[in-house]
Symmetry: C2
Subunit: 364 residues, 2 copies
């Protein structure tokens, strides 16, 4: 059967490809989930079937990341963009200031939302080099309400491989939307870490939050109910109807990660993929040029340029004819971007690298 399924080489930046076997299970169960006579999307979120699903998804996330019992795990709506507002609303007291590390478009947007509602400082910015690296040093406020950063910037293709160190007593907050579950993580370093699902762990429509319980003491009274982390945590993400299909899919992806060696296995796989692609870039004698500095190179989003914009356009167009989708870079960086999240196979990278060599031979 699988031979007949048409699957593109999906290099989309997100929403992105999901593992074929996950998609096949979702398809098989779509009309009748485990003999209930209903689809997951047709079930009450108060049913024992759905409660089982969300409980198991949470348990698997906890197991994979080894999350301490003192953390809450929530499933929310609104994307990272709503988190940008919720974080200062919940965690920054009136008059207090928060520190932001700006390493690309997403952390910049988060800073912008925080500034709308109160005081925020830039603890570091790599804008001068068009966000081609993580910062060497930080200018930290020891009284900051929190220190915020984005662990992987999808547009610029830079990733932190070590957490920034916050001053004692300053909670570390992280947008891990695009490298969540791509490698092991020491959750105990974070006060709050969140991720939109649509890169490595599921369809769009759900954000996973991992929150150290003591942070809930900061939540002000009378928050709009859906923006209140205390409500989300207390109600176990079921204050209102959750995005059930996306949560179900996240659950399936967690099972797939567990089957594939857990986060250590996934990291090895992702590292091999990224190494292969960056090696091809570096071996091209300058025909392909990476945007990010080597030590900050993202394993998720590989950004690179060709000698001219004409060649870049030609590359994208020819690649598309070979069923390689999503390779056009974001306009703020230009060039090419291959997003190689969890579900991208090494064989997809091999196919791309082979094409890169041929393309260079023809046009170099």
């Amino acid at each position: 059967m699988t031979e007949t399924i048409h699957r593109a080489h999906n290099f989309n930046a997100g929403p992105a490809g999901l593992p074929l076997e996950v998609m096949q299970q979702a398809q098989a169960e779509l009309l009748d989930y485990k003999g209930t006579g209903m689809s997951v999307v047709e079930m009450s979120h108060r049913s024992k079937e759905f409660e089982g699903m969300i409980t198991e998804a949470e348990a698997d996330i906890r197991e994979l990341l080894n999350i301490p019992a003192s953390y809450k795990v929530t499933f929310m709506q609104g994307g990272a963009s709503l988190q940008f507002s919720m974080i200062p609303m919940n965690f920054r007291a009136p008059g207090a200031s928060a520190d932001y590390i700006v390493t690309g478009a997403w952390s910049k947007k988060a800073l912008g939302e925080a500034e709308k509602l109160g005081a925020a400082r830039v603890a570091a910015s790599t804008k001068a080099g068009n966000f081609d690296r993580v910062p060497d040093s930080l200018d930290l406020d020891p009284k900051a309400a929190y220190l915020y950063y984005c662990s992987n910037e999808t547009i610029h293709g830079v990733e932190f491989f070590q957490e920034p160190e916050a001053p004692a007593g300053v909670p570390l907050v992280c947008d891990a939307s695009s490298d969540f579950m791509s490698r092991p993580l020491d959750i105990s370093k974070y006060a709050y870490l969140y991720a939109g699902a649509q890169k490595n762990v599921g369809p769009a429509g759900v954000v996973i939050g991992i929150l150290r319980e003591d942070m809930l003491e900061r939540v002000p009274e009378n928050m709009p109910v859906m923006l209140d982390y205390k409500v989300q945590a207390t109600e176990k993400s079921l204050y209102n109807t959750p995005p059930s299909f996306s949560i179900y899919m996240v659950g399936l992806v967690m099972k797939w990660i567990k089957k594939n060696g857990g986060l250590a296995g996934i990291e090895a796989r992702n590292k091999a993929k990224a190494d292969l692609l960056y090696s091809a870039i570096d071996a091209s004698g300058g025909f392909y040029k990476g945007h990010a500095q080597p030590e900050s190179r993202s394993r998720m989003n590989v950004t690179f340029r060709l000698p001219s914009e004409e060649l870049e356009a030609q590359f994208v167009s020819e690649a598309k004819k070979l069923d390689m989708i999503g390779l056009k870079g974001h306009r703020s960086v230009g060039g090419l971007r291959a997003s190689i999240y969890n579900a991208v196979e090494l064989s997809d990278i091999e196919f791309l690298v082979q094409f890169m060599k041929e393309f260079q031979t023809r046009n170099g």
Copy 2:
């Protein structure tokens, strides 16, 4: 093929059943949407395929409801519960007050969120009769920022069949989550009408908003970006990654409604279903007792009691064995509730009514 598909009699209050042919199309396309080699959930929301999908879903909503060009249609996240906060944040100026008609749990929650953030008045409440009707009269503030109501209360099973009349110049705002697209609607009477999808038009995770453009002038500066109706309208619901699968499914349901006679056809179908069920209640000589007063009886959620709580529990349990799902009433009303949204078939009601008769014969 269809004979072998196990489908329950789905009386869930939401998420609820969707049309079988819609589910079948979603299943067929789930691995490879129209030859793209990708699932809808694996596609960029900036791709021409997804833009085509969301544009067509909007066009079909506009066609079905005959929406004037002066209205914007948006697809948002966060459910009705987030709308409860967004409405006063966007449409009620500082110091102004808004009027709320309270006919059940949902309008009460909406009022509660509005009160957190400013002034709100109760223009009518039917709480005294445990929300068994829509109000006979309204106490209206001619200077209200808006008049808010919920067109169908799912828990109590009461529905407005005529819009409340707002004073001249006072915009009418409606939560139509549970009867949206169940019958024709005169959109020109509304300044803002919204609906969560998970009752009549799709899976959970998306809210459809229909907004008269002049309301955008009220939106304050510096709103949290995801709560800003101006951003949602200007960016055509693509400011950030939208809940793409839910939007896709809404699009499929719109096609199904069009194929089934549009909203007039759907209304006739829904009316026949509700009439059959209420007639069975009324013909039971008091064994079954409807909660809502006849003139306020919802065509979507039929709430009724049996002579004792023991019999109610027995009814739910026996019905479940016959694959009738979701009939237990909400604890605040008790008894039974049959939610009979668009996708419920007349044959499902016939099956339920037949069982009601048998049950009464055995226990009456």
